[in-house]
Symmetry: C2
Subunit: 475 residues, 2 copies
């Protein structure tokens, strides 16, 4: 996850992408072989593979079995780039979104509903049997005294393993920086509480994950949105203006595979963000729950990788990449770690031990990275498949993101399509969606939808996506 | 748990207690046999057993094997009754206790410390092996779709089982009233948040459980304390005066086996409390985590049993009576249940499923009540044992509660003993205690201690208690 190596392959990918956009490499044309490019550029084969992988997940090239990489038809490649950054007002807004979220997403988990509005990928993607075996082994082996003695910060073995993973990804953590939580949701909420008091102003992305808005509402905070590019995330210039204009208590951002846009801030942008916030002494709450679900070859570095002053509170979990339902997340909260630990103690005391130990045992078995590779491949393949269905069945004028990770698509429908009406119509057909109004404090994004495409190999999903596209023609 | 039956055996117990206090029955004298009393009073044998059991746990009589019940020496019986209700100021106090709690109790869980300050009973009292077997069975059997589809409110099977237990105890719950939480601590926090906004006034007991003070602090609430009798709990008259004097957002009480006093409000007093609060439309957050740990024959009814208008938010858990570390608690939040569910969703999404399913499976096996009987017996026996040690080794003038359930003793040391100094001295000897200053917003109870006596059969505890008593002589 070191920034330097990423920069090299990203540079290469960017140059090839420029070549494609400029027409120097045309649709159907074969890219130079990996060996050729190595010689030509003086880089390692892995750098070339990573660059080609990135271009593939951007939809600019496609791999053909035993043949190499080819430039794809331009239409798909450009479509995603035409989705423009929203222009938020920049005004502070009190938040009242919880009721709407509850009403619109309450049905997501009904067994007879196709959950295009859900936030979780398909259950068959997760190694639940291996986790159950690990849980049984760990709980039986455990001396009773360790069960009642577990600390608020979480199981020592699990914390050690996590710390090692951070280090491997180029993010050294302090000894006591990690606090294990009841999913990333609790981590984010505790971090937000650690750095704010009622009435404070918090900067969020535009559009933003509705749970961030719910957290602000619960803690009586005000939201101000910052322009967010659908591909590259938060607009640093716009943020700098915001920070000059008013006192800000914190930023809550998802720099990697933002929900709902899927935007991935390039490493330089993440670094600039961390440096800007450090100058203003504004803490960054970094929601990184999709970081492991990169379509490219390597995990993008979190903003936390550029944190020199302990101002980044990095939150993540196993809920989206390994063990939904186990509710194990964590915060690496920098200089706020002691405050977060005290808040954890006073709000839920400790995180469930059976879940923590099942994960610690599973991680010690060594299959996590293999599982992640398969999961990423399945999600990336399904994204391509879903994009084809969207292009085929949705009204012309529909714009769609093409994220480099995660499993959401963000659709901008033609302006005359009322996405909330479409949501209700789809519900009548047993399809849930996450309409755009959920993703801002002032209910903009009226003709937008977030779709969960994390369900590979499920014909119900294909049917639902097709039907949804057809319904969109008539709303 | 019906109030009527309790009243009958309590009436009988009270009459006998009056007889003992009046000297009609003298120390060493044998009580009439169960059969005699049945004939004399026209009551059932179970009523007599319950009455004798209550007298026993009050320390007024003692059972001798194969011989019957005998009146105990008066000294012990009166000692507990001389502990007087504290006189709180009745003023609203902003709360800042968290740092102190963290500092003083942080060491409780070090393996080399005898945890007299801990809030958990001895680990060997819990059926962790059976729970691990249940967890393994439940997780392996579960279809993956149910893992990702589990609702915020909690596993349906577990909620059904809990609802049945409430009904058996005479407390009918509404269909969707239960929300499963990450321990009772999260339940209490969510309930408090559901009924307050920053700046509000909340009534707590005096002394009160420090976690209630921490929750108030976290949510920017003000505490006002109400006089609390060491035996019978909240003073209803004093509360009525408080309610007339100022707007109150909620009460947070522990009507059964209050922490730290161990006070048990009699059913009539609970009923009067619920009715008083209903008249004022003030919700009652009822912390009932020790309810299952009664020394008497039957579970005391919670205040919730008298709730006609959904104003009682009843919170409990398995953490103190079955499965510490599993973090499974719940709220039966009356008319506030939908608000609590939304808050749960937005603050930690859902409770860990492995823990919930382990408990659901364990409860379905039918050994819970047998376990509880053994646990209660072990705790009640240990309380007698610990009381003897306290009487023998602590300075004269020490007053101590004699609770009818739970596993705490509350010691009022002679006024010249600085309990905080004693705490620090004990820590140097690897003994933790919970000093009295933790139990009020304004750091009263300077010569008080809460001791955990939930560790039967552990000679380390006997030694620690003895040493603590000796140290108290020299502080």
């Amino acid at each position: 996850m070191s920034a330097e190596r990423l920069t090299r392959y990203q540079q290469l990918a960017e140059e090839i992408a420029d070549g494609i956009r400029a027409g120097l490499l045309r649709p159907g044309e074969r890219l130079p072989s990996v060996r050729q490019t190595c010689e030509l550029r003086g880089v390692s084969p892995s750098t070339v593979f990573q660059a080609y992988g990135q271009l593939e997940s951007q939809g600019l090239v496609e791999a053909r079995a035993r043949s190499g990489f080819y430039v794809r038809a331009a239409k798909r490649a450009t479509r995603s780039t035409t989705l423009q950054a929203a222009k938020p007002s920049g005004e502070a807004t009190p938040v009242a979104i919880s009721e709407l979220v509850f009403e619109l997403l309450g049905s997501t988990r009904d067994a007879d509903v196709v959950p295009l509005g859900s936030a979780f990928p398909a259950p068959h993607l997760f190694p639940f049997e291996a986790l159950a075996r690990s849980g049984a082994r760990a709980m039986r082996r455990l001396p009773a005294a360790r069960i009642t003695g577990a600390l608020t910060a979480g199981d020592g073995g699990l914390r050690q393993t996590l710390r090692r993973r951070y280090a491997l990804h180029g993010v050294p953590l302090a000894e006591d920086e990690l606090v294990i939580t009841n999913g990333a949701m609790e981590a984010l909420n505790l971090c937000l509480q650690a750095v704010t008091k009622p009435g404070d102003l918090v900067v969020v992305e535009s559009p933003t994950f509705y749970a961030a808005l719910q957290a602000l509402e619960r803690l009586h905070l005000k939201a101000v949105e910052v322009a967010t590019d659908p591909r590259e995330g938060v607009d640093i210039g716009a943020l700098a203006v915001l920070l000059e204009r008013q006192p800000v208590a914190a930023c809550w951002f998802m720099p990697s595979f933002q929900n709902p846009l899927g935007a991935l801030m390039p490493p330089e942008r993440k670094q600039a963000l961390v440096e800007l916030l450090a100058r203003h002494r504004v803490p960054l709450i970094e929601d990184d729950v999709y970081g492991e679900l990169h379509a490219g070859a390597r995990r993008p570095p979190p903003a936390k990788a550029f944190d020199r002053e302990g101002g980044v509170l990095h939150c993540a979990s196993f809920s989206k990449c390994l063990a939904p339902g186990y509710r194990v997340g964590w915060a690496a909260a920098g200089r706020y770690a002691p405050v977060v630990e005290r808040l954890k103690m006073s709000s839920s005391l400790a995180t469930a031990l059976p879940s923590q130990l099942a994960l610690a045992d599973y991680l010690a078995q060594g299959g996590f990275d293999r599982h992640l590779r398969r999961l990423r491949e399945a999600l990336a393949g399904q994204q391509q498949h879903a994009l084809k269905l969207v292009e085929r069945h949705f009204p012309s004028g529909t714009r769609v993101t093409r994220p480099l990770g995660g499993y959401f698509l963000w659709l901008e429908l033609p302006p005359q399509v009322d996405a909330l009406a479409l949501h209700h119509k789809a519900r009548a057909h047993h399809i849930s969606t996450a309409p755009g109004v959920l993703f801002s404090a002032d209910r903009r994004f009226t003709h937008h939808l977030r779709l969960n495409v994390g369900h590979p190999g499920d014909p119900r999903f294909d049917g639902a996506l097709r039907l949804l596209g057809e319904l969109a023609h008539s709303v």
